[in-house]
């Protein structure tokens, strides 16, 4: 009898653990280097170490689970210093995303503080800006598709589409690393989003702006690629940690050990 109960409890723990794991599958992104649009002196490549990244952005259903376990982050209880007034404003109630939102749509209207906390509670963290950009430059076949015109055009055409945030996760393309939705669904928080300067505090950054805005008339693939990246950097640069917006979600990352 005792043996059986032990088996039973082990079994139930196993089930619970595997359900939990299913919530947030990750893939390995291998070490590499890339030249970011901003932030390096002399345009030197930045090395990105091997890391794990969630395959999908965090969904409404997953976030609802998190809130039930951590009610201090519910709409009613969240402290103003950690999220602004529009926090989860599209949800039906404190602990329910309701009928108007899909369970497997990405959760949005979440602040950086809460996104960070969510990942910490999973034993993870937010990806760094470099990790995110590095993983996001892959298309289906290549680790770096940025110079491919059709790829950049795809990204830019998404920037023009509205309300993609209401779509389910996993319906855009699966990239080289096995990750979905880096483009085409929602914008995503990064751990160091506040490392961007577009206000001219760093002369090096300003030069890039000048190149973008005052460049020659011809637009080539590199310009388009820079333009797409510029949009992301400009967006991040405009954010504050407690801001929440309808088209901004997140996914988690983890060091590879």
């Amino acid at each position: 009898m005792l043996k059986r109960t032990i088996y039973m409890s082990l079994f139930s723990m196993f089930i619970a653990a595997s359900l939990w794991a299913q919530n947030s599958k990750m893939v390995l992104v291998k070490k590499g280097a890339y030249v970011p649009l901003y932030g390096t002196v002399d345009k030197k490549p930045v090395t990105v170490n091997e890391f794990q990244l969630d395959i999908y952005p965090v969904t409404n259903a997953q976030f609802q689970d998190f809130l039930k376990k951590n009610p201090e982050y519910s709409k009613a209880k969240i402290k103003g210093i950690f999220a602004d007034k529009s926090y989860l404003s599209h949800w039906e109630s404190d602990f329910s995303y309701g009928k108007n939102n899909l369970s497997n749509a990405p959760v949005t209207n979440v602040s950086w503080f809460v996104a960070k906390k969510y990942c910490e509670c999973q034993g993870k963290r937010l990806p760094t800006l470099d990790e995110w950009e590095y993983a996001a430059m892959a298309d289906e076949k290549r680790t770096d598709a940025r110079t491919k015109e059709s790829y950049t055009k795809y990204i830019l055409s998404w920037y023009e589409k509205s309300k993609t945030y209401a779509n389910p996760v996993g319906q855009t393309f699966k990239n080289y690393w096995g990750v979905y939705d880096m483009h085409g669904l929602v914008w995503e928080w990064t751990s160091d989003f506040n490392s961007i300067f577009l206000s001219g505090e760093s002369r090096k950054d300003k030069d890039t702006d000048k190149n973008l805005f005052c460049g020659s008339g011809s637009v080539n693939a590199t310009d388009l690629m820079n333009y797409a990246a510029f949009m992301r950097y400009a967006f991040r640069g405009s954010l504050k940690a407690k801001y929440t917006t309808r088209n901004l979600g997140f996914r988690c990352a983890k060091d590879f050990k």
Partner: protein, 197 residues
């Protein structure tokens, strides 16, 4: 019996799922502390004397805060000068104002180094506090202050030049942006807040 064990196992899973969820509820519960107070931040910091503190330990004081790094050659000396200038312009009998300089380079800026920096810059009075923490906590605090920073080479950071004033319950009430700007308004605000203390 089986059901009880099963229930217990599941309960265990739930409690284990997030061991850090206690932190936020550690925040002070006193009613006088508003939603927007930095006293809610659970992060731990070390000062120039090697003493550990949290933001809520500075409760009751008006805080004038800036983020710097001690090996900085360009903007920080001017930011530090701006802080000294503001401090020197407060009436001699001003009480309960703390000037807090937070390092964005915690690897290099050890408590010893902060202590030495304080000495070099004649900022050794009780009103000067130098703080450092983990890179994560620093990034988070910068987010609260809306200070952006990035390591741009092994030696240098680019960073926003913002001096922030917090009232005696930890709410951000004023920010001065830029270097060598006219500090009249900042000084005025600090005096106002200090009088409320």
């Amino acid at each position: 019996m089986k059901k009880i064990i099963l229930g217990l196992a599941l309960l265990l899973m739930i409690f284990q799922s997030c061991d850090s969820n206690k932190k936020a509820s550690d925040a002070p519960k006193s009613k006088s502390i508003s939603d927007l107070s930095i006293y809610h931040l659970p992060s731990k910091w070390t000062n120039q004397d090697g003493k550990d503190i949290q933001m809520k330990n500075m409760k009751g004081k008006v805080l004038v805060m800036v983020m710097i790094y001690t090996s900085c050659k360009s903007a920080c000396p001017r930011l530090v000068a701006d802080m000294r200038n503001i401090e020197s312009r407060l009436p001699k009998d001003t009480k309960n104002v703390e000037f807090v300089l937070i390092s964005i380079d915690p690897k290099v800026d050890t408590p010893e180094r902060l202590k030495a920096f304080a000495k070099e810059n004649q900022m050794e009075g009780d009103q000067w506090t130098f703080l450092r923490s983990s890179e994560d906590n620093t990034r988070e605090f910068a987010a609260v202050l809306a200070v952006n920073y990035k390591k741009i080479s092994p030696m240098d950071f680019s960073h926003s030049n913002i001096i922030s004033v917090f009232n005696n319950v930890g709410e951000l009430t004023y920010q001065q942006e830029g270097l060598n700007v006219n500090a009249d308004e900042t000084v005025q605000k600090i005096i106002e807040e200090a009088q409320k203390s």
